[in-house]
Symmetry: C2
Subunit: 162 residues, 2 copies
């Protein structure tokens, strides 16, 4: 799905430089760039592309508490969790499957599995307000999810390869 990235939520700060180097954010950027079939985003820097994953306090306040997720927010959700899956694969050298169920009201679940092992199970709620306060939060959350999944693989190495 092609999405216009016209209004970055935040302007990048110098601090973000370190964040762009994290393996999770690298996966995320690679996935976003992979969807740019026509090279429309070639001129955009990484911080511009990633800005759509941040929702500031003020922006969040402007979103109704109850609402149906629109295609753009579903695209962000999809690509965020796809990046989590790829980052787990990179770290573990295993094939990871993702199953995501989101209903029309923005509630659901995302599951990461490999063979017989559940690596990660996360309840999704208020998907229409999906986004992180800062890019640092986005990187931290993604990295934490990847670390959790890798820890599970280490705890059950036989089941992950069964």
């Amino acid at each position: 799905m092609m999405t216009t990235l016209s209004d970055p939520a935040v302007t990048p700060t110098v601090n973000d430089d370190k964040i762009f180097g994290t393996p999770f954010i690298k996966c995320l950027v690679r996935l976003i760039r992979a969807e740019d079939s026509y090279g429309l985003w070639r001129g955009k820097c990484n911080s511009e592309l990633l800005a759509h994953f941040t929702v500031t306090e003020d922006q969040r306040r402007a979103i109704p508490i109850i609402g149906d997720p629109d295609p753009h927010v579903l695209w962000k959700l999809d690509i965020f969790y796809a990046a989590v899956g790829i980052a787990i694969e990179e770290r573990s050298d295993l094939l990871v499957s993702r199953t995501m169920e989101v209903n029309q009201e923005g509630f659901g679940r995302v599951l990461f599995t490999t063979k017989r092992l559940v690596l990660l199970s996360k309840t999704l709620r208020d998907v229409h307000r999906f986004g992180f306060n800062t890019l640092r939060d986005c990187a931290k959350t993604g990295t934490r999810l990847v670390n959790d999944a890798v820890a599970v693989i280490k705890a059950y190495p036989d089941v992950a390869r069964a």
Copy 2:
């Protein structure tokens, strides 16, 4: 969701009596009846309710090879796999979660998990043609799925309770 059950696909035969006694079919009937909030199906016998899970050869031939699943077929899919989940819970005394992902073209996956263990993972395809040749097939498929899941729990008892 309320669905009108006006055109049973097949007339029940005497042979079906044994099928109604299987634990899986009992679960399925119980789930269908649970959705009958207004008692509209109270006068219908079980074979009438279950007839919607059968699609005869001729009926299947009439359905296009490529098509989008309609709400009625999604309801059938949902209730069939919900019955599988409940039957696994009855047999194993464990809490089972189902995560089902179906895209608009009728492709996807259904996963049954309990704690860290994947009990069952099934690829869904051609969902718009979902149905069984006979009620016996429906009972056999459901029972096989339940047996498979229970065998997995027996093989990994610790992971299922982790």
